[in-house]
């Protein structure tokens, strides 16, 4: 019955080493990104061609790029764009996808069939390809990239929510709620949603890191963020022509992407370990004994 135990998710997860490392790592980058809203060491919209390709120094901790912009400031702003796009894409996916999944699971029958088959259809296209198509049609830009990634997330969250809801629906307290005259929708949101919430949180962490990668990919091929704004993918693209002479310009944003994605994934793995009932072997034995 480990799965049904009510626990403070964050508190339990905090004792899991990989969650703690992942959480602290991603938290560091999130804080940097948030600070960049109010303050960066230099204004990245001011070009200083005279000071281009400056090496790391006390004035510019990581040097400057080909326009003479401060790399620390660029990375902070770039991380901010990446996070905003990925987080909002997850929010879009959850807000639209989870109700769809819950409705499909609660009503079943033909409604479930239509929703699930539409979902399968969406899944048939590789995520990045459909994102390219959408941004190609509606024009490049951070907002369109976010919507494109969000649409793919809708399908993911709808599927996860439906699966979780179907297994909760088997339990007797759902029948008890029906007996007390609650409608299907009310049961879905009052009784099923709280019980699949931890499942959704784990999926959100996975989609968050995928979103950051997708945003970087879209910006790299020119469909994402447009200058003078910057994002980690766009920095990669701009640094590409100087790669042989000034490799740090590409390595720094690349490394930032890798670190953010790894930290989020580690945190997500930790969360899953804490939540997965199959890993709680000891308890199952206890119940059998």
């Amino acid at each position: 019955m480990g799965k049904l135990k009510r626990e403070n998710l964050f508190k339990t997860a905090w004792f899991h080493p990989s969650f703690r490392i992942g959480f602290l790592g991603s938290f560091f980058f999130i804080i940097l990104a948030i600070i960049s809203i109010f303050w960066t060491p230099y204004n990245i919209e001011e070009l200083n061609i005279a000071n281009r390709f400056a090496p790391a120094s006390f004035n510019h901790l990581l040097g400057t790029d080909f326009f003479g912009r401060d790399m620390v400031s660029m990375l902070m702003k770039g991380a901010l764009t990446s996070f905003i796009v990925a987080v909002l894409a997850v929010v879009i996916g959850m807000i639209i996808g989870v109700p769809f999944g819950l409705i499909a699971a609660s009503y079943g029958g033909i409604i479930d069939n239509i929703l699930s088959k539409t979902n399968d259809f969406l899944f048939a296209f590789p995520a990045i390809i459909s994102a390219i198509i959408i941004t190609a049609i509606f024009g490049p830009g951070a907002i369109n990239a976010m919507i494109a990634i969000g649409i793919f997330n809708i399908a993911v969250f709808a599927r996860v929510a439906r699966g979780g809801a179907l297994s909760i629906k088997m339990l007797q307290f759902i029948d008890a709620a029906k007996l007390s005259g609650m409608g299907e929708l009310k049961i879905a949101f009052k009784h099923i949603l709280p019980n699949i919430f931890s499942l959704l949180i784990v999926q959100a962490s996975v989609q968050l890191s995928l979103g950051i990668l997708a945003e970087a990919g879209l910006s790299y091929i020119g469909f994402g963020t447009q200058p003078p704004q910057t994002s980690l993918g766009l920095m990669l693209k701009e640094a590409q022509s100087f790669f042989l002479i000034h490799p740090t310009l590409a390595i720094l944003p690349g490394l930032t992407i890798v670190l953010i994605v790894i930290f989020i994934n580690i945190a997500g793995d930790g969360l899953r370990d804490v939540l997965d009932p199959r890993l709680a072997k000891e308890e199952t034995l206890d119940a059998a004994g």
Partner: protein, 527 residues
Amino acid sequence: MPQDRTKNIVNIKELFVSFNIRPALDNISFSIKRGEHFGLIGESGSGKSLTALAIAGLLPPTAKMIGTIEFNGRPIPKNDKQMSRIRGRKIGMIFQEPMSALNPLMQVGKQIIEALKLHYGEEKIEERLKKLLKEVGLEEKHIKRYPHQLSGGQRQRIMIAIALAGEPELLICDEPTSALDLITQAKILSLLNRICEQRNMTLLFISHDLAAVSSLCQRVGVLKKGVLLEVAEIGKIFTNAKNKYTKLLVKSAKLNISPLKEISTRNELFSAHNIVRKFKQGKFLSFSKKAPLIAVNNVSFTIKSSESVALVGPSGCGKTTLARMIVGLDRADSGNFCLEKNIYGKQKKLPKNIRRDLALVFQDPFSSFNPRQKIGHSIAEPLRLLDGLSNIEKSTKIIRAIESVGLDKSMLNRYPHEFSGGQRQRLAIARALVTRPRLVVLDEPVSALDVSVRGEILSLLNNLRSEFAISFLLISHDLNMVYAVADRIMVMNAGRIVEQAEPKKLFSNPQHEITKQLLAARININY
């Protein structure tokens, strides 16, 4: 066997098992004599399965073990390779759920042959297989079947055949019958008894059911929370138990339930007329045209007000389907129900005025409450069916409901996992009572509970009935339990009600074949 028959086959001395520092078995010492039938009894979580796993050397890697276990006078080897030679050859094991212990993609005959080959090679394999099948009471046609094509009892017989393939000296049975219905349970128990006698085999029988243990074993060990409280001859356990907990077990096994006060007013409250429920088989657009499964077939009966009626039948006879239709969780294909002149049965959603007079208590107290909702909110939910209640009226109703089942109102702020199984079932009854229904349907209300709390819950039901004038429809497969709380028993088989009578009459003079079988399957405690 050259060994002396009186020598102990298993000797356990000061056995401790723990998970991370949390003790699971605490200083267990006992021994099993050769040829003896030894029973281990305890509630869930008492460590009885762990003890069996320790003897078979199958403890999970996270478990830490201290102490000695001797098998045939020698300590069991730590080396897994040597241990696996002892398992199978010397120790056979049977588990609770045969479906998960058998390979679903392999014919059962091949699975027995596989076990036989390990011990004897190819020699005379067909002959040995036939002999084993005959011994466990299966026919040759069963060889070619897959596990899902067999019934629970037949699967358990296959498991026994596999365990017997190596001609073990010790057979460990871990709750072998608790997933089976009573009729099958009785058959498997007598089969085990016969095989052990014939083969002169030692039996370690693990169960939570004192009645099953008493019908099979000569000596019993009582476990509670990892501590071995008492080891004694089965007769002494019943007449002269030393331990308080053992006394409680004995008392509840005999089901002493507080008697019902006389209740009058017997006008008709509820009736069912020609109820039929069919289930389509095969999926949407499938080409196979199977005849629909008739779960409930033309059932009619009545229940008077404040009457307690029991519906008894073997598993799969349609009793749960009928219960779900009565409370409105399912629709009838034809026929209707009548509750105090309100007729229903075919509509998808019952109107409030009918729904509030009906309640259902579920079988499994662990999944019948939302784990993320406080108990108070769960109990309050059915009050939606009563219109125009003020908050004060609501909370007085909730408090009265929880106090009527013998719990404290301070518990309303707790979450379900903070309660024991028996308490949860009390809370489920409180939730059912909160709207003051006229008819409460109880679907196997005590079969998921530990034996020691069953009597309490049944006594509670009796008290509530005399206090609130509610009618009960009690669904069960256990005649002994029903005898104590029902005014009338209806026996159901294959979708039909085949017999109904007062308990005394039914017990003394059963008419239908299935009733006779159900009565014969009861295990009587003769001490």
